[in-house]
């Protein structure tokens, strides 16, 4: 997940669809995010590159909607419902995830194990 500002980013992503749970008056997703372009990237424990200012999943509520949908702690969120999440402020990321008129969010997330899985699977077949 190396990232160079200004260059196109390539990543192996997984599509995760989370259905929001109604909890009283709020719609909750069951996870916490950290990061953003207005935050300090050096304190991010999940990123490989400590200059990465993307949005990361920092906590998952067990048996919440995100956990059920397959989101894992440490995932980097690349898109939410088509909106980019790699260059947003923390507050905008929160707003994108908590729109009251949406019941479902479709995330594109990436994690290190995805890359490795793809590399392994590519490496086991001879090049064609």
């Amino acid at each position: 997940m190396s990232f160079m500002p200004g260059q196109p980013l390539t990543a192996v992503v997984q599509r995760i669809q989370i259905e929001k749970l109604r909890h009283g008056e709020n719609l909750i997703l069951g996870f916490s995010i950290g990061g953003g372009i207005d935050q300090d990237p050096g304190q991010n424990p999940f990123s490989d590159d400590k200059t990465d200012k993307g949005i990361y999943v920092t906590r998952i509520t067990p048996r919440g909607p995100a956990d059920v949908a397959g989101l894992r702690m440490g995932d980097k969120i690349m898109q939410v419902n088509g909106w980019d999440m790699t260059m947003v402020t923390h507050d905008r990321a929160r707003k994108r995830l908590t729109k009251k008129n949406e019941d479902v969010v479709r995330l594109l997330v990436t994690r290190r194990s995805l890359e490795e899985a793809v590399k392994q699977s590519m490496g086991s077949y001879p090049r064609q």
């Binding site: 997703l29 916490s32 995010i33 950290g34 923390h90 929160r94």
Partner: protein, 538 residues
């Protein structure tokens, strides 16, 4: 010029020092006896109440009151002070007195000799320009050209420069000497030699070129005299720089430690010779160090004696080894092993002296605090009896008016006992005589000082200068140094200033050379961002 004597610190008090030194010695001995008597007294106070009338002097430190004070159980506790002991002198005293005599006589000779030399040199220096100007008029007046306006202007300049030189020499050199140093003050000697050479060379030139040839150009002669006075002023400037300015900038930090109780102070000194540095240290010693109190050191000495007396070494191996360890090499191994055995045994022995020390110190602290609180209360109460009289009251009650001394004597008895007990507990009673206490009380009353201000000088030991001259306890100092005392201070140089009771160990360190570099900071470059790390749950 300080080509002076070896030992005495304050030379022109030497006459008085001899008399007061003996008196101080005797009164100190007697006060030590009485201190012993009162020490036992305090321990037995718990069973016997001693009632003394307040008017009786309780602190009998001076010779006049010696015979009046008697405790109730003086029969058991006083050591006998017979008539003969007041006038007997110990061997030590005799040696000290003869040394004083020798020193003072030798000192006076050398001091007067150097004073005479200095005065002669000064007269030579001042009269030379005047002689240069006057001699042509006396020796060949008819051949001499008359003095024009320029030449007479030069007369005025000579006169004023001589006046300035006179004032400058008076300011720099005509000061009472502070001390007698063991060796010649090198810079002064050099300057005197320089001035002498200078004046002699001018005289030579004058004698050969002007007197012999009988020069008629008087203006030239006057200009020659003016140049002499100018050069003398420049030599005086050199003297100021060498003697006064050079040692002002501090470049050494000296650490002065008293050998008996470890009091340490640090001072900054400039470039000085060792003897001048020793003088500077001693002057600051008298102003800064708390007074040396030998009564406080007895406890540690008794502990040390107990340690030594604890173990004895016996060797049971053979007849040849029973001799006390001599210093010959074959027996050196034996002495070494004996001392090692002793040290090992002392380490293994269950020593409870630390326990005793701890409890003794705690008890002493408690006792001192109790006495101090009683003293403070007594003094505060005593001070409430005295009121400064206002002007209008003077007409009302003229009978009972007292001056400060009488007022002090009136309120002193009510606090005397508490004060005496406190001084005894803190072992300061020999530092303060009753006379000095009453004087201090009168002083405090005169200047309307609070009771706490009066007590301050008894609660904390002040610098040595504040006490009476008897208790300076050391007016003759010896400088012990491994390098020549006229050599300069250097990093790591050490010397010892010894007096009769203790010594001051002085070590030197240079203040390091500091390399400063510069960094420019643009005021607009101070910009900040927030470092947030928020975590939001969605």
């Amino acid at each position: 010029m300080d080509t002076e004597s070896t030992y005495s610190g304050y030379s022109y008090y030497s006459g008085r020092s001899r008399g007061s030194h003996r008196h101080g010695e005797r009164s100190r001995e007697r006060s030590r006896d009485r201190h012993k008597a009162r020490g036992k007294d305090s321990r037995s106070e718990k069973s016997i109440t001693i009632t003394t009338t307040p008017a009786e002097p309780l602190l009998g430190d001076s010779a006049a009151r010696a015979e009046q004070v008697q405790d109730d159980n003086w029969g058991e506790t006083t050591t006998a002070v017979t008539g003969t002991s007041e006038h007997s002198l110990s061997q030590e005293d005799i040696v000290r007195i003869t040394k004083d005599l020798e020193d003072s006589v030798g000192l006076d000779c050398r001091r007067y000799f150097s004073l005479a030399l200095a005065v002669a040199l000064g007269l030579l220096v001042f009269l030379t320009p005047l002689a240069f100007l006057a001699l042509p008029h006396l020796l060949w007046p008819e051949k001499l050209q008359s003095c024009g306006t320029a030449c007479e202007g030069l007369f005025i300049s000579v006169a004023f420069k001589l006046l300035i030189l006179l004032l400058a020499v008076w300011a720099l050199f005509f000061r009472p000497p502070r001390a007698g140093l063991p060796r010649v003050f090198v810079f002064r000697a050099l300057l005197a030699v320089l001035v002498l050479l200078f004046v002699v060379s001018y005289w030579l030139f004058y004698g050969v070129r002007i007197l012999d040839s009988q020069d008629e150009n008087y203006q030239g002669i006057v200009q020659y005299a003016v140049s002499l006075v100018d050069a003398l002023l420049f030599i005086h400037y050199l003297a100021i720089v060498l003697l006064e300015l050079r040692q002002l900038q501090p470049c050494f930090s000296v650490c002065v430690a008293r050998s008996t109780d470890g009091e340490t102070r640090h001072y900054n000194l400039g470039r000085l010779s060792i003897q001048r540095a020793a003088l500077a240290v001693l002057e600051r010693y008298y102003c800064d160090f708390p007074v040396h109190n030998p009564a406080l050191l007895s406890a540690s000495k008794s502990r040390a004696a107990k340690h030594l007396a604890g173990l004895k070494v016996y060797s049971v191996d053979g007849p040849g080894n029973n001799a006390p360890p001599p210093l010959t090499p074959p027996a050196a191994g034996l002495a070494h092993s004996q001392s090692r055995a002793m040290i090992a045994a002392a380490a293994r022995r269950r020593d409870t002296s630390h326990n005793e020390l701890y409890y003794e110190e705690a008890e002493h602290e408690r006792r001192v605090r109790k006495r101090k609180s009683r003293l403070v209360v007594a003094v505060e109460e005593a001070f409430t009896h005295i009121k400064r009289m206002q002007e209008e009251e003077q007409k009302k009650a003229p009978g009972d008016v007292m001056d400060p001394r009488e007022a002090a004597q009136a309120i002193f008895p009510s606090m005397a006992r508490a004060l005496q007990k406190y001084l005894r507990t803190t072992r300061q009673q020999h530092c303060h005589s009753m006379e000095s206490i009453q004087q201090h009380l009168a002083f405090c009353i005169t200047y309307s000082m609070a009771p706490k201000a009066f007590l301050e000088c008894y609660l904390t030991p002040g610098p040595t200068l504040q006490y009476s001259r008897d208790h300076w306890l050391a007016r003759q100092w010896t400088l012990v140094s491994e390098v020549s005392v006229t050599g300069g201070l250097a990093d790591g140089s050490t010397f010892v200033l010894r007096c009769a009771d203790f010594s001051l160990v002085v070590t030197t360190r240079t203040i390091p050379y500091i390399q400063l570099s510069e960094e420019y900071v643009d005021p607009k470059s101070h910009k900040f961002v927030l470092r947030l790390q928020s975590e939001t749950s969605v």
